[in-house]
């Protein structure tokens, strides 16, 4: 399998190629300036946004997120964050498609409870089915359950995005073996979405063979989000190269790096 992959191969999602394998969110930043600078530093080409009620009576000159993160420059990936039912998630995606002039790539997430923000798998499956029938290209946030990941792929999701750890937890890739199992069977891109805390977590996800990593809090909640965005860009590239290079096998005992022959002793 490794031999078939070329180092320069881009990430392909729903037929579109991307050079960057880091996808980033736009939440939790101090202001839109910081959002813009962090996203530029991350090198991301796919950027997630949330869909919310317009604040009626707000200052009409207040800048809009999409003025800063322009849909002409970035692939905007509207999410269904905050939705706890398939119905709400589908409704949100339809609003997003109207908002973005027919753009039909969405990040589906249907959450189960507020404490864990764990995906509600049955509602996720139901929403995915409706959205795919309705012509959406669905990148789906799910648990790290290999059977559920496969089912979502079989349904026609364009990417499956298991969590590394709960959203915003920064706990890293808690179950790399499950991610490996998901990757073994996958024919669509598998991206780790949620749980990354620092650069090494992103590298681990990529070393496992993930096609990309999606994160928000790890960058936005860093002391210096712009520097962390750069670190994440490098970490994802690093992990991808290491995956393509193919790591050495692990051995229990030492193996000398210098030749034994020609020793003066």
């Amino acid at each position: 399998m490794t031999q078939e992959i070329h180092a320069e191969s881009p990430l392909v999602i729903a037929g579109k190629s991307y050079q960057s394998r880091l996808l980033v969110g736009t939440g939790k930043y101090k202001d839109l300036d910081e959002t813009k600078l962090a996203i530029e530093a991350s090198g991301a080409e796919i950027v997630t946004v949330a869909v919310r009620r317009t604040n009626i009576g707000q200052n009409p000159d207040e800048p809009n997120l999409l003025d800063v993160i322009s849909p002409e420059k970035y692939t905007i990936l509207p999410n269904t964050a905050g939705c706890y039912t398939a119905k709400d998630a589908v409704r949100t995606c339809r609003l997003a498609r109207e908002l973005l002039d027919g753009h039909d790539l969405v990040k589906l997430e249907v959450l189960g409870d507020q404490k864990t923000l764990y995906p509600d798998v049955t509602e996720t499956l139901s929403a995915a089915e409706t959205l795919i029938k309705d012509g959406f290209k669905v990148m789906v946030y799910t648990t790290d359950d290999p059977l559920v990941a496969k089912r979502l792929e079989d349904m026609g999701c364009v990417a499956v995005m298991p969590l590394g750890a709960p959203i915003g937890s920064g706990l890293g890739i808690r179950n790399p073996y499950n991610i490996k199992m998901i990757l073994e069977n996958a024919k669509v891109p598998i991206l780790v979405d949620a749980g990354v805390g620092t650069a090494s977590d992103a590298t681990i996800a990529m070393e496992l063979g993930c096609e990309g990593v999606l994160m928000n809090t790890a960058i936005a909640a860093a002391r210096d989000p712009i520097l962390m965005a750069k670190a994440m860009r490098l970490a994802v590239e690093c992990g991808r190269d290491a995956y393509l290079a193919g790591r050495m096998p692990r051995k229990l005992y030492a193996s000398a790096s210098s030749p034994i022959e020609g020793l003066i002793v």
Binding site: G25, T26, G27, K28, Y29, T35, T48, V49, A50, V51, R52, R53, T54, I56, P60, N64, L65, L66, I76, P78, N79, A81, R91, R94, L95, A96, E98, L99, L100, I167, G168, A194, L214, M215, N216, T217
Partner: protein
């Protein structure tokens, strides 16, 4: 005047108001937003000819920061 529900709150508009009338009064012209009336999307091209009725549930949404 008729009363509609706009983003979860009571809101008064003229009896003959279209969605375009509403968006103009909200200073939304030229901005990126989407509108749903009674859970149906009303596409931008129809805003001028879609007239509001008393009790309509109107949602106006936009993109904001999120993961």
């Amino acid at each position: 005047m008729i009363e509609i529900n706009l983003n979860g709150e009571a809101f008064e508009v003229a009896g003959d108001a279209s969605l375009s009338t509403l968006t103009q009064s909200l200073d939304l012209e030229g901005k990126r937003y989407a509108i749903e009336v009674n859970e149906d999307i009303i596409s931008r091209s129809e805003h001028g000819t879609y007239f509001l009725k008393a009790g309509d549930q109107v949602e106006v949404v936009q993109a904001i920061g999120g993961g």
